[in-house]
Amino acid sequence: MSTLDDHAKEMIEGAAHETAASQSTEGTIQKQDKGAGGTIILFFILGMFASLIIGWVIFPKLLYSKKKQPIDFNHAFHVTQVDNGCESCHFFRADGTFSGVPKLDQCIECHEEIQGIDPNEIKFVEDYVSKGREVPWLIYSKQPDCVFFSHAAHIKSANMECVTCHGHIGESKSLKVYEQNRITGYSRDIWGESIAGFKKNTWDRMKMDDCAECHQKESAKIEKRGIKTPTNRLIDDIVHVVSPWALSTVKGSSVQTERDACFVCHK
């Protein structure tokens, strides 16, 4: 950029030019400028409005593809049929690992052959049971393979309820549409239920921060201290930078983050 004093000079020169150049057009320029002002605003608003529509309405529609489950399933009914709640079908293996979605051989116990008139059951028995094919369920809460989630730690050790994270699926009479993110291939339930990123329930989103949020609350309880806001976490960080030995006072099982060590949930 050039500097004030000679800029002043330039301006004078500039003015001189204009007067010299176009006495006649002076007026028109003025007019144009006035008219331009209005149109500029108008166009600005148009552009902004259009893009907001695209961003908030059209984009989310395009981002997710809707998929139907191979067959519908009535959780509410099955819960009444079993005596051990969720764990009757979604059980723990002896080695502590979680079985997740039931395999065919569990269902066969009851569904050897068709019992009712429910088309879904008929489809299930004919297409899968009799053919010995596993049902390709679409799993709403499927996490990436870099994530290690220990159901045992939460259910068996911390005595949490399934509902706390998964919501009231047990009361659902049918399976909702599975929405898949076209880019990441994830279920929308992992993240994106609300495109703005807000969430009402735990099960609206299952990203890392959501796990961390709860974990921090818990460890805060244990260590009897307030939960850190991002700002005072930053302050802490700066303290650490200036005096690394302050690290020894770190909370949570990770030295670097204010959270639990990465390897607690990653593999």
């Binding site: 050039s2 960080d237 200036v242």
Partner: protein, 436 residues
């Protein structure tokens, strides 16, 4: 159209000539772009880097380009904070060069990382303990500042300026420029420093490790100091090259000399500090880890200890002494030598702090790994140079980069044919820096 864009009162070579030049450099640019795309789509296996040389040519280029780009913030500091008004005639160019250096640095970083699409993690998941985080933040902020500093210059283009809005915008921006200059200086201090810290904090790598204050090792301050010292030299160098190519005097001598003088003293103080730090490291730090000075320079088939001689004596003290003496500054030849040496010196320093560090084996049974860049690495490293040349050429042609140009080169009517005749020669000269 073209002539309408050219600033008033200055002469430029004919359009075809200009385009030819841009085209020539453009080819180099495209070559670099091709290599860049290879690295992005096929991955870093396109390079000759390996697990021993995680940092290599690119990181060196990054550090070097940022070091020589230091001219922008330091000149700005002198001009606006210390009110060295003479520098107003070179400040525009300093900013332009700085802008080029920093945009190049960011580009190289974008190529260098293994997962470019995740690059933003460095901001979103920042680890404040890491020098690299500090670098990333300050670097991008300062790049923003440079853009703001560069903008008014663009707005001063003859056509753009006609729009009153832009005209006033640029005018008003000038008013507050001091604030940005101050911010720039502040940010630069930190990222130049943290770049030094990048190597200095590696306590697992005795050759890189330096003690210091708090988390800042000496290299932190040495890097800032050396950038402030040698950056202006690069600004002078590029100015001189531009003057030679355009065969015009573009900046008044007093500006050049003042800058030269200041950076002369800066270099001197820096190189003394550097020598002391090296001495301390060789006699205290290294032995405490079981190493001797020579262990870091032996085994290297190429240069060995000579790189130290080159960096500290030839490219340190020599330019310093030339620039602090009036004679040295005034004599064009010695000035040339001095600025060139100074620039080489700071680049050598960055080379040592990046590649030598990687090469030196730390485990007694480990071996000295050698590395030479692949053509993709070279191409992507030359890419910013070509981009810089083009941006300078365009800016020089269409923007009032040099406030005194018109005054220093009044146009006589004869001049018109003159250029037409000389043009081929001029063209050839134009091409030189593009390849260099």
């Amino acid at each position: 159209m073209d002539s309408a864009l050219i600033p008033k009162g200055v002469k430029r070579c004919p359009l075809w000539q200009f385009l030819l030049f841009i085209g020539a450099v453009g080819i180099v640019l495209l070559w670099g772009v091709y290599a860049m795309l290879l690295c992005w789509f096929k991955g870093l296996n396109q390079t000759n880097m390996n697990d021993y040389y995680g940092f290599a040519l690119w990181i060196w280029a990054d550090l070097a380009v940022i070091a020589v780009g230091g001219g922008a913030f330091f000149t700005g500091l002198l001009r606006y904070i210390f009110g060295k008004d003479v520098l107003k005639n070179i400040i525009n160019y300093a900013v332009l060069i700085g802008f080029i250096c920093y945009s190049s640095a960011l580009l190289i970083l974008a190529i260098d990382i293994g997962q470019p699409l995740r690059g933003w993690f460095i901001f979103w998941h920042a680890n404040v303990h890491s020098m690299l985080t500090e670098v990333a933040f300050c670097l991008s902020c300062y790049f923003g500042v440079l853009t703001i500093e560069y903008l008014p210059l663009i707005l001063e283009n003859r056509q753009i300026e006609k729009v009153p809005f832009f005209h006033h915008l640029s005018h008003n921006m000038h008013e507050v420029m001091a604030v940005f200059a101050a911010t720039g200086a502040f940010l630069s201090f930190f990222h130049q420093g943290s770049l030094g810290g990048v190597a200095g904090v590696l306590f697992g790598r005795p050759f890189a490790y330096r003690e210091g204050v708090f988390i800042w090792p000496w290299t932190f301050f040495l890097f800032t100091w050396s950038a402030a010292a040698c950056g202006p030299c690069f600004t002078i160098l590029v100015t001189k090259i531009t003057e030679t190519i355009t065969r015009k005097k573009l900046v008044k001598d007093n500006a050049i000399e003042l800058l030269a003088k200041i950076s002369g003293w800066m270099i001197l103080t820096y190189i003394i500090a550097k020598t002391m730090s090296m001495w301390y490291w060789a006699t205290v730090t290294a032995p405490s880890k079981g190493f001797t000075l020579m262990e870091f320079y032996s085994n290297n088939p190429l240069y060995g200890i000579w790189i130290v001689v080159a960096e500290i004596l030839i490219c340190g003290f020599v330019p310093a002494f030339i620039l602090i003496t009036k004679k040295g500054r005034k004599n064009p030849l010695t000035l040339w030598i001095a600025v060139i040496l100074a620039v080489i010196g700071v680049c050598l320093n960055r080379w040592v702090m990046v590649l030598q560090v990687m090469a030196v084996p730390v485990m007694t049974f480990d071996h000295w790994a050698m590395y030479y860049p692949s053509w993709q690495e070279v191409a992507t490293t030359i890419l910013p140079v070509a981009y810089g040349v083009i941006l300078i050429a365009i800016s020089y042609r269409y923007l009032p980069v040099f406030p005194n140009e018109a005054e220093l080169n009044p146009i006589e009517p004869v001049a018109e044919e003159a250029t037409a005749v000389e043009s081929p020669v001029e063209l050839e000269e134009d091409l030189k820096p593009a390849e260099a």
